[in-house]
């Protein structure tokens, strides 16, 4: 056969494939770990919601699988000066009801975001820097900010655009019932039952092209064992957050395939440095109070970091689903420094440093942490305690439900706190600002700095980064801030969580660093 006819035949064959494919409804069920509390895109800023809402709505920008900002409903954006941004909107985009998407919808959305009644965590954080919006033409907008706001394109990815036509009188309940849940996204809402299931069907007019599924059912299966059982029995075709204890067994199952990716969540330790005297739960070995706060001594902090064997924790406690951490985000992210290396496990060196700092016989402390919030959180605390006992620090462990733990940790009732942080913006500057900048609620700096670490050099670099429009220069400033903080052991990074998805054979999931589970990224394979 001539090659040309072979190609022609092949082309003919493939031309018919999609039809054979479309004959059967392409359906898929996915098991989720956490409930989605609302379909109102501006009601509750929480990652399970944001992940689900991405199917129905879109922002002006989007984040790709590595959280890099890419065009969404806007095709381009540029800063005209430090306070002015020009945004070009995508043309020929239609909402689910067929009405066209224009600049008016953006203006309407920005107005609604800060005014959603009873919102327990609003999206206003992302829109507040924008003080004025001008419509130039239906597909061009000018945003004004009060101060230079370099994170605007990144923030806009979190603001989901709704239609003015349907949103005028809509309340949160209208979104949940589906009446007002009209976006431009790849799927339309069919049914939302809180805490139970969400059903979507494909939006065939989607500007981004054809989706792999006609119908998607998300089931909320918060119990890990139930989630795994649902996958094994074929009730769902994919689950998120595979429990680490089951990973070894599941990956040997020929009917399943697992996929994983390092996430934007770091597990770390805050050392309470708020007081001159020793913080709560830190004493001398005989239980007497300590004269000074040992955590204010950089040598003690460094010793506590060196005493932890991160490789062993990642390998055994996390069953290889952890990556030892040197800073607040893995290397692939913006603002991370290649110069920072994971602290070497060195118990002898740690002992020496402690002696130098005036604690040759160590002291006593209690590790506090949650036991239902992060992957294996209570086991991590236990492992750290063993390493500390080895260097002569009497260590106790007390873990509790996240509900009880976080409010007390915020009130600084603990000395040594195991915590976790996911950086949704995907750039290290925001993590440093929240966890290590000097605590100053009025300026929004150090909001989650439960260690009360403070370093003027770090603060200055971060403040400069906030107003530096040049991306390269800004990255340099953030990297510098990270190096300052990590070399001074402002906090102790332990590891980055690796998130795992498991799917039935015949499906492949393209994993994401933000731990979102998106139906669009689940592809059927032959």
């Amino acid at each position: 056969m001539l090659p040309i006819t072979r190609i022609a035949l092949a082309a003919l064959f493939f031309a018919f494939l999609p039809h054979a494919h479309a004959a059967k409804e392409r359906e898929v069920s996915i098991g989720l770990q956490a409930a989605v509390s609302s379909i109102d895109p501006h009601y509750h800023n929480l990652s399970p919601n944001n992940s689900m809402l991405l199917h129905i709505y879109e922002g002006l920008t989007k984040r790709d699988a590595n959280q890099k900002v890419v065009p969404g409903l806007a095709t381009s954006w540029k800063a005209i000066d430090d306070l002015t941004w020009e945004i070009k909107l995508r043309k020929n985009v239609k909402f689910h009801d067929g009405s066209p998407f224009t600049a008016d919808d953006v203006v309407f959305t920005l107005k609604r975001v800060p005014n959603v009644p009873n919102s327990p965590s609003s999206f206003a954080t992302f829109t507040r820097p924008i003080v004025d919006v001008k419509v130039v033409d239906p597909h061009t907008l000018i945003f004004k900010t009060a101060t230079p706001h370099v994170l605007l394109p990144s923030d806009l990815a979190s603001v989901y655009i709704i239609s003015k036509l349907n949103g005028e009188k809509a309340e949160t309940s209208d979104y949940n019932s589906g009446k007002a849940a009209i976006g431009t996204g790849p799927y339309k809402l069919v049914e939302y039952i809180p805490n139970q299931r969400i059903v979507l069907k494909a939006n065939y007019g989607y500007w981004g092209g054809e989706e792999p599924w006609d119908k998607v059912t998300f089931k909320v299966l918060s119990n890990s064992a139930a989630r795994v059982a649902a996958l094994l029995s074929g009730d769902v075709q994919m689950i998120e957050s595979v429990p680490t204890a089951d990973i070894a067994k599941l990956s040997k199952d020929p009917k399943l395939s697992l996929t994983d990716k390092v996430s934007n969540r770091v597990i770390y330790v805050h050392l309470n440095q708020s007081t001159e005297k020793a913080p709560p739960f830190v004493t001398a070995k005989d239980g007497k109070p300590l004269e000074k706060n040992p955590f204010r001594d950089a040598r003690v902090r460094k010793a506590l970091s060196m005493a932890i064997n991160r490789d062993a924790i990642a390998d055994r406690v996390m069953e290889k689903k952890g990556v030892p951490a040197a800073q607040l985000l893995p290397d692939i992210f913006y603002g991370t420094s290649r110069k920072l290396k994971v602290a070497k496990f060195d118990p002898e060196g740690a002992k020496k440093l402690l002696a130098e700092a005036g604690y040759p016989n160590g002291f006593a402390l209690t590790i506090h942490g949650p036991n239902n919030r992060y992957i294996n959180d209570d086991k991590i605390a236990q492992a750290i305690a063993q390493y500390y006992t080895r260097i002569g620090i009497d260590t106790k462990v007390e873990t509790m439900l996240a509900t009880a733990y976080f409010p007390r940790a915020t009130k600084l009732e603990f000395g040594y706190m195991v915590l976790g942080w996911g950086t949704e913006s995907g750039e290290q500057g925001s993590a440093l600002r929240s966890l290590l900048a000097t605590h100053d609620p009025a300026k929004g700096m150090g909001m989650n700095n439960r260690g009360r670490y403070s370093n003027p050099e770090l603060d200055k670099a971060l403040n400069d980064a906030l107003v530096t429009m040049d991306d390269k220069k800004r990255e340099g400033l953030i990297q510098h801030a990270a190096e300052v903080a990590m070399n001074d052991t402002g906090l102790i990074p332990i590891h980055y969580e690796v998130s795992t998805w498991a799917s039935a054979k015949g499906f492949r999931y393209i994993p994401r660093t933000d731990q979102y589970t998106l139906a669009s990224e689940l592809k059927p394979i032959k």
Binding site: S222, A226, T410, P441
Partner: protein, 327 residues
């Protein structure tokens, strides 16, 4: 009888108010819901706004006062998480829980009483011993483990039954029920059996003990001596007399099976109130937790009332006693 009923109603109201106060204080003591609801990256302005929006900026007693006065008009507050009236959230999920609980009780009763009778009448036979051994297993295995084993066996290995969810429902008197459709029934079977297991063992043991006691009584011997057939002796004389403690236990256990279906609901992802409660506690969704406990307390009171009535129908002496000296 009427005075007794009215007095009991008053007592019940007092219990309700006391419960609400304790729960309110309890959830308040755990901590600040805003801490858990808000996105960690939120700034101080946003925190203050959320605190005010949820009414958490006021002193606890004032919050409780607002709750009480609203509750008097039937409003138990709005869920912090879902922004809908808490009571709606619970009433939406309650039919699923009650259906599961009733199905479990039906399994426990229809199997437990006959098996217990057999074990009590023939305590030394092989069958009697086997039933007792089985009931020990039902007692001692933890519910979540049995649930997982059931799923592994019937869903994963055999593929007969679905592993989670509630299945198709139809409306019966305006309430969605799933036991009238095939899809609903297959979804119901495993969780109901899982929940029933403990109660089943309890009923077997209780029935057996009562039966063994009853067959030695004079009235049974007399009935036999009169020449009544074994069917009538067991069905009328033994069964009717041992039913009183059993009905009491069934009533109390029905309440607890509704309130504590939590484990089964979370393993089988059964969309009931138990799962809702756990999730609400985890997020400190105070209005839902308080409203849930109100509903459960009301349910317990109602069930106890029904049990008392059933009791008095079985044994007229109880009816006389209760009006003479109310306990």
């Amino acid at each position: 009888m009427l005075a007794y009923a009215i007095r009991r109603f008053g007592q019940s109201l007092l219990v309700l108010v006391l419960m609400s106060f304790l729960v309110f204080l309890g959830v308040f003591a755990i901590g600040d819901p805003v801490e858990l609801l808000i996105n960690p990256e939120a700034d101080a302005v946003e925190r203050a706004r959320a605190t005010a929006a949820l009414g958490l900026d006021k002193p606890i007693l004032q919050q409780y006062g607002t709750f009480l006065s609203n509750a008097a008009s039937g409003d138990l507050g709005r869920s912090f998480v879902f922004n809908v009236p808490a009571i709606n959230l619970i009433l939406d999920k309650l039919p699923a829980t009650i259906e599961l609980a009733l199905a479990a009780m039906v399994i426990a009763i229809t199997l437990g009483i006959p098996l217990g009778l057999i074990a009590g009448l023939k305590p030394h036979s092989f069958v009697g011993r086997a039933i007792m051994a089985g009931s020990i297993v039902g007692f001692s295995l933890p519910t979540f483990w049995v649930g997982l084993v059931l799923i592994m066996l019937f869903s994963v290995q055999l593929g007969w039954l679905p592993s989670n969810g509630r299945g198709e429902t139809v409306l019966l008197f305006g309430i969605p029920v799933s036991f009238l459709t095939w899809d609903g029934l297959v979804h119901l079977a495993m969780p109901a059996l899982n929940l029933a297991l403990f109660k089943l063992s309890l009923l077997i043991r209780l029935t057996r003990a009562s039966t063994r006691e009853a067959v030695l009584q004079d009235y049974v011997k007399f009935a036999r001596a009169k020449g009544l057939g074994p069917g009538r002796v067991i069905g009328v004389h033994v069964l009717k007399n041992i039913l009183i403690p059993i009905v009491t236990v069934i009533g109390l256990e029905l309440g607890s099976v509704i309130a504590f279906a939590i484990v089964t609901e979370s393993i089988f992802a059964w969309p009931g109130t138990g799962k809702l409660l756990i999730d609400s506690i985890n997020l400190l969704d105070r209005p839902v937790v308080v409203a849930y406990l109100m509903v459960i307390v009301t349910l317990f009171i109602a069930i106890n009332f029904v049990v008392d009535v059933a009791y008095s129908l079985l044994d007229p002496r109880v009816r006389l006693g209760s009006s003479a000296n109310a306990h």
